[in-house]
């Protein structure tokens, strides 16, 4: 992460042009336009699902999903809690300590939104055994203060491309304990999100400057923004968590509810488009560029 230091004149110029009625972004993007990015899917042979996303400015993120069979110590009272434990998120951001505030806040908001939107019942193999998903995310380099959008795009694709081997042994091991056996043919594996009505959540960070909302803010835009909002989108809906974040320690003014609603509408508008283009990459398996 490198720090953008703008002179007062540059800051004021940028802030003015972003707060116009029809805002002008430094790279001439529309307010709802992403920077070009390159994405690859299922490239790690050792994991069940993986994704890699590269931004034009060199920011890069890898996500991998690994499934491991674990035995469930079940007593019905807290089975829901047990199922929640079937997802583990591990986050490593280059240049930031693992126990730093940023890294742990991002990891917890990611995990919180994932638990509700992964078909946990699909992870359940038998009465005694289940898959546990280990989601490892590495941000190799990033320029943004809050690389959550990048992270969540990579996680989305990794989860969408996750395939679990087909169980061949019996499902009912209530009486006799039996080690689960799997088909060794990957052609017959099941996609985690195959026929599910659920879809992994996407988290978007938007920057607020006056009455304008900007998706995918560049570091320069972040440094003059008045506030940031993090919104979660899944299954065509805006869902919780929703929170404000501070993208720059300078010139913060707070926001009003109109701006929150505007950001809400913006993410609702672009959400389906992002989902569509990411899904295309997942189904096509070849490198693509999305805008």
């Amino acid at each position: 992460m490198f720090k953008i230091t703008l002179s007062p004149a540059e800051r004021s110029y940028l802030h003015e042009s972003l707060s116009c009625l029809s805002p002008i972004r430094p790279d001439a993007r529309l307010n709802k336009q992403f920077r070009p990015l390159e994405a690859t899917c299922s490239f790690l042979p050792g994991s069940n699902g993986s994704a890699r996303i590269r931004m034009a400015d060199g920011a890069e993120c890898l996500a991998s999903v690994k499934a491991k069979v674990v035995s469930l110590q079940l007593n019905n009272a807290n089975s829901a809690q047990h199922l929640k434990n079937l997802i583990e998120v591990d986050l490593d951001i280059n240049g930031i300590r693992d126990d730093s505030n940023l890294s742990s806040t991002i990891a917890s908001s990611l995990k919180g939104s994932l638990v509700k939107h992964i078909p946990l019942e699909k992870l359940r193999l038998t009465h005694r055994y289940a898959f546990k998903l280990f989601i490892d995310i590495v941000v190799l380099s990033h320029s943004s203060v809050y690389p959550l959008t990048l992270l969540s795009l990579a996680t989305y694709m990794a989860l969408k491309s996750t395939k679990l081997p087909l169980l061949t042994s019996t499902v009912n091991d209530r009486d006799i304990e039996e080690q689960p056996m799997f088909s060794d043919d990957w052609e017959s594996s099941l996609a985690l999100f195959g026929d599910s009505s659920l879809s992994p959540p996407l988290l978007f960070v938007v920057a607020v400057v006056k009455d304008n909302i900007f998706i995918d803010p560049s570091p320069e835009e972040e440094s003059v923004s008045e506030n940031g909002i993090c919104l979660t989108y899944a299954n065509g809906k805006i869902i919780s968590p929703l929170q404000t974040i501070s993208l720059s320690p300078k010139d913060n003014t707070g926001i009003n509810s109109a701006q929150i609603l505007k950001a809400h509408a913006l993410v609702k508008e672009i959400g389906p488009l992002v989902v569509k283009s990411l899904d295309e990459i997942v189904s096509d398996d070849s490198i693509k560029t999305i805008f």
């Binding site: 126990d99 505030n101 940023l102 742990s104 806040t105 990891a107 917890s108 908001s109 919180g112 939104s113 509700k116 506030n227 909002i229 979660t232 809906k237 805006i238 869902i239 919780s240 968590p241 929703l242 929170q243 404000t244 974040i245 501070s246 320690p249 300078k250 913060n252 003014t253 707070g254 926001i255 009003n256 509810s257 929150i260 609603l261 809400h264 509408a265 609702k268």
Partner: protein
């Protein structure tokens, strides 16, 4: 190389002495009369759902502090700064917030981080970063170049262990706000927080603008509210804002009473 610095206590530390019986009883009498005075400071929001006990300036070696009691939730916030920092010049103050639960509160498994409590747990980090994001909007940091303002929050006891600590987050902001006032740090306005079980809003009334501004919003991930619906979302925000405003007016009353 050995450390040749002398280990010194705080500058204003006074040596431990053992008083005679009569002095102790006199001190105790004084303390109890003080306590009665403090009891008068109980402020009650007009909405009437929480009774809050507030006391400011209890901690003497920091610039400002505030102690708050809401039922069994006890919070203490101390503010250090603005104090000068070493190193190169920066044109604004840096703000840091650290929130810690007292160790005996964190026996529950969800708080334990398993490595001797050297680092903050996930929940502590989340609370710290929320309070930070509220105050970075409020404190006029450009007034204090090359200095740092540190807010230390201690949660002494928590009433209810709801998973996301929405209620607690709300109290933390209010308590930190009063300790900022006590530290006499320049702010745009005093902020107060309002909450409904699933979300929290902190707002401040900016003197230059007619409407209330929101400095921090958090809608937790275990809410069932349909925030996809804009009307639901805006009514949630309105409700929180109203609560924050009610609390604001009672805090104002309290502060005025304090000055008198």
């Amino acid at each position: 190389m050995t450390d040749r610095r002398r280990i010194l206590g705080p500058l204003d530390a006074s040596p431990l002495t053992f008083e005679s019986e009569s002095v102790i009883s006199a001190l105790e009498g004084e303390a109890s009369s003080k306590f009665q005075l403090k009891k008068l400071h109980v402020s009650q929001p007009s909405s009437g759902d929480d009774k809050i006990f507030v006391d400011m300036g209890l901690v003497t070696n920091c610039e400002g502090s505030c102690y708050m009691e809401i039922d069994n939730t006890l919070i203490q916030v101390s503010v250090y700064g603005p104090r000068p920092i070493r190193g190169s010049f920066i044109d604004t103050a840096t703000l840091s917030v650290e929130c810690r639960f007292l160790p005996f509160l964190t026996e529950s498994k969800e708080f334990a981080n398993g490595n001797g409590r050297n680092s903050l747990t996930e929940i502590e980090q989340r609370l710290s970063s929320f309070v930070y994001s509220c105050f970075v909007n409020t404190i006029i940091l450009s007034k204090y170049p090359k200095s740092s303002i540190d807010i230390f929050i201690k949660v002494i006891s928590v009433d209810s262990y709801d998973t996301n600590f929405i209620k607690l987050t709300n109290y933390l902001v209010n308590c930190a706000s009063l300790s900022i006032v006590d530290a006499q740090i320049e702010v745009k306005d005093i902020i107060t927080a309002g909450y409904i079980p699933t979300s929290i809003v902190t707002s401040f009334t900016n003197l230059h603008l007619p409407n209330d501004k929101i400095v921090g919003l958090y809608i937790s991930d275990d809410t069932d509210a349909e925030i996809d619906d804009e009307k639901v979302l805006s009514s949630m925000i309105m409700e929180c804002n109203k609560k924050a405003r009610d609390l604001r007016s009672s805090l104002n009353k309290y502060l005025i009473q304090l000055v008198k």
